[in-house]
Amino acid sequence: MEADRTAAVRTDGLVKRFGAQVAVAGIDLYVPAGSFAGLVGPNGAGKTTTLSMVTGLLRPDGGTAYVNGADVWRDPVSVKAAIGVLPEGLRLFERLSGRELLAYNGRIRGLPGAQVDARAEELLAVMDLAEAADKLVVDYSTGMRKKIGLAAALLHNPAVLFLDEPFEGVDPVSANTIREVLLRYTRSGSTVIFSSHTMELVERLCDWVSVMSRGQVVAQGTLDQVRGEQSLYDAFLGLVGAASNGEEGLSWLGSSSG
C-alpha cells in the first residue's frame, strides 16, 4: 500500500449484518486521495452495503469508516460536506424537474442561490439535459436519471464522489458523457469511487481497484498490482473463486431435443 498518499476513504473492520446474514464481514477498505477507484465484485458481494455505510446512509454494526481522515459517524459535519453520492436504484425526487432538483440540492446544502443556478445550468448543458431540464424526473429515462443524479452529486463540488453502478443500464452516449465528466473531475485531484461489475470499464477508467467477494475485500491496490500479468477480468474470476463450472452438468443444454 502506498503509505505516502493520504486516504480519501479508509475503513477499519467495517461490519454489517442483516439478521443472520453477514453482508459485510469486517473489511479494511483503502482508497488513496485523488484516485479513480473501482469497487468490483459479484452481485451480493457487499458493495452497495459498504458504500451506504461509508456515506452515512446505513449504520454499521461494527468498525469505523473515515473519509478524508474524518470519522463518518462521529464527525458527520466535515464528512457530509465533503462527499457526493449517487446511490443505487436512482432514488430521486420524482415530482421535481431536473432543474428544480439541482436547485433544491444546492440550496439545502446552503450554497448561495445564484451560484447554485449558474452551476446547475452548466451541469445541465454538459450532461446534455438542457432540453429535458423542465420535465419531471419521473418521466426521465435511466440514462437521464443517472446523469441528473450525477449532476446533483457534483453540484457542491465534493472532494470525494461515491457512485453505485453509475453505468448500469445507461446508453453508450450517456455513458460517454458521464465518463468524460468523471475523468475531468479526477484530473483536478478529486477522488471517485464507483462500484461496477463491468471489468473492461474499470480497467479502462480506474487507477485503483478494490475487489470484494462475500463481504470481504479479497484484493486491493493499483490496477497493475491487482491484475498482475492477466486481464482484470481473468484476475477477478480467479480472486472471487469462480472456477469454470460450465463443463460439468447441463449436458442436456443446447441440443434442443426437449
Binding site: 442483516f18 439478521g19 456515506t55 452515512g56 446512509l57 446505513l58 449504520r59 458527520p76 459535519v77 464528512v79 457530509k80 460536506a81 462527499i83 453520492v85 446511490p87 436504484g89 432514488r91 430521486l92 425526487f93 420524482e94 415530482r95 421535481l96 424537474s97 432543474r99 428544480e100 436547485a103 433544491y104 440540492n105 440550496r107 439545502i108 446544502r109 446552503g110 448561495p112 442561490g113 423542465d134 420535465k135 419531471l136 419521473v138 418521466d139 446533483a152
Partner: protein, 515 residues
C-alpha cells in the same frame, strides 16, 4: 393450477412476515382486524333476524349490493392492484388465459379479507334462513355473491390495469377517489341532516332495496330471503349467469392486457417557477418550496389535502349548527396538520438526498421548519376560507374570527406533534399503482395506525388547553392559542430534530421500502 396459485399467495403472505418483528406484528394485526370485521359484520347482519322479515330482506339486499360495490372499488383505491398477482408479471409463463384466470381467481379468494368477507356474508344466512333448504339456498347465494365480488373486481382492475400503470392514469384515479369519499359519506349526510327523519322511512328503504334488487348481489340477497321457488331459482341462476359472463369478460380482458404493451411515454414539461424563492435562500426555503410543489404535483399529497378539506366540510354539514363554527374548523385544522405526520415518508426513497445534508441537529430542524412552513402556507388560507364562509353563512362574525384563531393554534399543535411522529414512526408510502392516501407497503400495515394514533393522542392532549376554554366561550383564549400553537410547533420540531439526528439511517430504511 389453482392450487399452485393459492400456495403462491400463501407464500407471499408468509414471505411478507420475514425480516423483523414489526412485519410479524403487522400480519397478526391484519388477521385480528380481519377477525374483528368478520365477527362484527356477521353479528350485525345476524341481528337482522330480530327485525320484521320484509325489513330484514330489504336491508339485506342493500347491504349485499353495497358490499359488492366496496369490493369493486377498494382494489382500485385503497389497496391498489394486488401487485404480486399483476397479470403482466405472469405474461411470460406458458399458461393459457383460462388457466391464468382460474389461478388468479383462486389467489384472489385466498387471504384474510376474502375469508372475512365470506363470514360477513354468512351473517346474512343467519339473518333470514328458516330451515335446511333455506340455509342451502343462502349458502349458494353467499358463495355466488363472493364469486361475483371477486370476478367483477378482477375484471375491473384488469380492464383498467393499463391506465392504472401509467402515471397520469394513477394521478387521475387518485383524485377520483375523492369523489368516492364524498359518495360514501352521502347516506351519512342525509341521515344526519335536518331532512333525515323525512328521508329515512320504511318507504324509502323499500324503494332503495327495490332498485338494488336488480344488481346481481342484490338479486342473490333477495333470493336468500325468499321462500318462493319462483323467486329463488331464476334469481340465483341469473346471478350465476352474471358471474359467468363477467368471468368470460375478465378472460377476454386478460388476454388483451397480456399481449399489448404500455405505450404511455408522452411527457410534458412543468412551468419554470421561481416558486419558493421568496421563502428565503437556504434550507428552510428550499424544503418549503419543494413541499409546496409536491403538494400540488404528487397525487398522494393532493389526495391527502383534498380529503382533509372534504371530510371537514362534510362534518360541518352533518353536525349541523348546534356545535357552532368552532368544532368543524378545529377538526379541519387537525386533519390538515395530520398531513405533516409522515413528511419523510412522502419523500420516500428520495429522502437520502436530505439525509446526506443532515450533519447537525440544526440541519434537521431547518428541514422540519421548511416542512411545517409549507403545510401552514396551505392550511392557514384553507382555514381562513372556511372561517369566512362559516361567518357569512351563520352571520356570527366574531364567532368565526374566534374559531379561526383557535384553529390556527390547533394547527400549530398538530404540526408540532406531526413532525415528531414523522421522526418516531415514519413509514413508506407506496408510489406505484396504489395512489390512494396513506396506505402502507406490505408488512408496515400497523405503522400508519401507530403514527396517526400517536399524533391524535399527543395533539389531542396538547390541544385541550386551547379548545376547552374556547368551547366554553372564553374569547380571550383565542389570540393566546395562536402563540401556544407556534410554541408547540417550535418545541415539536426541536424535539423531533433531537430524536431524528440519532436515527437517520433507521428513518431512511423505513421510508425507503418499495410497495
Amino acid at each position: 393450477m389453482a392450487w399452485l396459485f393459492v400456495r403462491l399467495k400463501l407464500r407471499l403472505i408468509a414471505g411478507g412476515t420475514r425480516g423483523g418483528i414489526d412485519k410479524k406484528v403487522g400480519l397478526v394485526l391484519t388477521v385480528l382486524a380481519g377477525i374483528f370485521v368478520a365477527l362484527l359484520g356477521f353479528a350485525l347482519l345476524a341481528l337482522l333476524r330480530l327485525a320484521p322479515a320484509d325489513v330484514a330482506a330489504d336491508v339485506l339486499v342493500i347491504v349485499f349490493a353495497v358490499f359488492a360495490l366496496i369490493w369493486l372499488i377498494m382494489p382500485l383505491f385503497a389497496f391498489g392492484l394486488d401487485e404480486t398477482l399483476d397479470p403482466s408479471r405472469l405474461a411470460l409463463f406458458p399458461l393459457t388465459t383460462r388457466q391464468l384466470a382460474a389461478g388468479l381467481f383462486a389467489a384472489s379468494v385466498t387471504g384474510v379479507w376474502p375469508i372475512a368477507s365470506l363470514v360477513v356474508l354468512l351473517g346474512g344466512v343467519a339473518a333470514v334462513a328458516r330451515g335446511p333448504i333455506s340455509v342451502l339456498v343462502g349458502l349458494v347465494a353467499v358463495l355466488l355473491t363472493l364469486a361475483f365480488c371477486v370476478v367483477a373486481a378482477r375484471a375491473l382492475t384488469t380492464g383498467l390495469s393499463k391506465a392504472l400503470r401509467s402515471r397520469r392514469g394513477r394521478d387521475a384515479i387518485a383524485l377520483a377517489g375523492l369523489g368516492f369519499l364524498v359518495v360514501v359519506q352521502l347516506p351519512n349526510l342525509l341521515v344526519n341532516n335536518r331532512l333525515g327523519p323525512e328521508l329515512f322511512t320504511r318507504e324509502t328503504l323499500g324503494a332503495v332495496a327495490g332498485a338494488f334488487r336488480w344488481t346481481p348481489p342484490g338479486m342473490a340477497a333477495h333470493a336468500m330471503a325468499s321462500d318462493d321457488v319462483v323467486t329463488v331459482v331464476p334469481g340465483l341462476a341469473a346471478v350465476a349467469l352474471c358471474v359467468g359472463a363477467l368471468g368470460w369478460l375478465w378472460v377476454v380482458l386478460l388476454r388483451r392486457v397480456l399481449v399489448t404493451v404500455d405505450t404511455t411515454t408522452q411527457t410534458s414539461a412543468v412551468r419554470r417557477t421561481k416558486g419558493g424563492r421568496h421563502l428565503g435562500e437556504g434550507r428552510v426555503g428550499a424544503v418549503a418550496g419543494k413541499e409546496l410543489k409536491y403538494m400540488w404535483r404528487d397525487p398522494r399529497y393532493r389526495v391527502g389535502w383534498f380529503s382533509a378539506v372534504v371530510v371537514a366540510v362534510i362534518f360541518t354539514l352533518s353536525v349541523g349548527d348546534e356545535l357552532g363554527v368552532l368544532f368543524p374548523i378545529t377538526l379541519a385544522a387537525i386533519l390538515l396538520g395530520l398531513q405533516a405526520a409522515n413528511v419523510f415518508g412522502t419523500d420516500g426513497r428520495a429522502f437520502w438526498i436530505n439525509l446526506l445534508t443532515f450533519a447537525r441537529e440544526a440541519d434537521v430542524r431547518g428541514d422540519l421548519t421548511g416542512r411545517q412552513l409549507a403545510h401552514a402556507l396551505v392550511a392557514v388560507p384553507t382555514l381562513t376560507v372556511m372561517a369566512v364562509v362559516a361567518g357569512a353563512v351563520t352571520g356570527d362574525v366574531s364567532g368565526a374570527v374566534f374559531a379561526w384563531l383557535a384553529a390556527c393554534g390547533v394547527l400549530g399543535v398538530t404540526l408540532g406533534a406531526g413532525v415528531l411522529a414523522a421522526t418516531m414512526a415514519p413509514y413508506s408510502v407506496p408510489e406505484r399503482v396504489n395512489a390512494f392516501g396513506n396506505t402502507a407497503v406490505p408488512g408496515q400495515g400497523w405503522l400508519p395506525f401507530a403514527n396517526a394514533f400517536g399524533v391524535m393522542f399527543v395533539a389531542g392532549a396538547l390541544v385541550t388547553p386551547v379548545v376547552l376554554p374556547a368551547a366554553f366561550g372564553l374569547a380571550w383564549v383565542a389570540p393566546i392559542s395562536v402563540l401556544y400553537g407556534l410554541a408547540v410547533a417550535w418545541g415539536g420540531r426541536r424535539l423531533a430534530a433531537m430524536v431524528a439526528i440519532d436515527r437517520l439511517p433507521q428513518i431512511l430504511s423505513s421510508v425507503s421500502r418499495v410497495g
